[in-house]
């Protein structure tokens, strides 16, 4: 059985693009936020980190799922990035919600 590595559908390629953007955004946000980690408002620092990457992560997840479900996308890279992006989106969502949960 031949196993494709790189995406075969357009949705898979878009998903890969947004997975790359997720990594980039998280990195830039981390670099910007690192000097602010010690102040008492650190909860909001984590919220900002989550907000930086939840959008691209959700995009990569949704695009990967669309490729897998509707366009018979079965490549290794798409499966990997879709699950990774889903994990990143959930983690970012938890980080963001935990910053405001005490006010709900």
């Amino acid at each position: 059985m031949s196993l494709a590595i790189t995406p075969r559908s357009a949705a898979g390629r878009w998903s890969l693009l947004f997975a790359g953007i997720t990594v980039l955004a998280a990195l830039v946000a981390w670099i910007i936020l690192l000097p602010m980690m010690d102040v008492p408002s650190a909860a909001w620092v984590w919220h900002a980190l989550g907000q930086a990457c939840v959008g691209p992560a959700a995009s990569a997840t949704a695009l990967g799922l669309v490729g897998i479900i509707h366009y018979r996308e079965r490549s290794v890279l798409t499966w990997a990035t879709t699950t990774g992006a889903f994990a990143a989106a959930v983690a970012a969502g938890v980080m963001m919600y935990s910053a405001v949960a005490q006010y709900q």
């Binding site: 930086a52 959008g55 963001m96």
Partner: protein
Amino acid sequence: MAIPISSPIAHRPALPVVWLSRTAVVLFIVAMTVASIPFGEPPTGEVIWATVVVGSFVLSAATGIAAQVRKHRVARTRLGYWALAFFILSAAIMAAAQVLFTPGAQLPVTPDVFISTATYALTVSAVLFILAAFRADGETIRFLPTTPVGWWAAVFLVVGLVLAYSPWAVLTPAAGAAPALALAGIISYRDRSVLAAIALVAGPAQLALFIFTFFINLFVLHPGA
């Protein structure tokens, strides 16, 4: 047999339509990504962030419009004129907000009302312009999405609207997947529907206009500052 005729019209180096369109898409993605990233130490961090976001949105819109104008010569259609009208309306509302809300003015509404209204006008303008581009390409425009990607974009649009008014409103940035899905649908899968166009511009228009207001206020002198 055709005889090659040398044209007396001088050859103008022109920006190719594909280059303009791709630049518009890239700048759009850059603007949306940077808008979510926190800015660094104020005031330089704020100014850099706001400049990058506003500049990217403006240049993205400009290159997108230029690509369509160049592709179809001039977008002189009814839809195009309505798009221009709503854009002028949006700009007029923003200008009115800047004039009315001088320090010390007592008004029964907050500036947010003006900015939100301008956002809706800008969204309508952008959607109409996208539909004008579809029609100029000779495509049939439907209301509901025609591709699975378009349907998912519409779903995320609705999810974003519901989230924004729910106890989990902090998670609304996750609905930023709607413009991404709409982009993939319109560009790669030729989805030519109204809902896909709305999913593409609704969230980003609101983001762009509110950050634009933030950008203007960075350079306006505030009393007591």
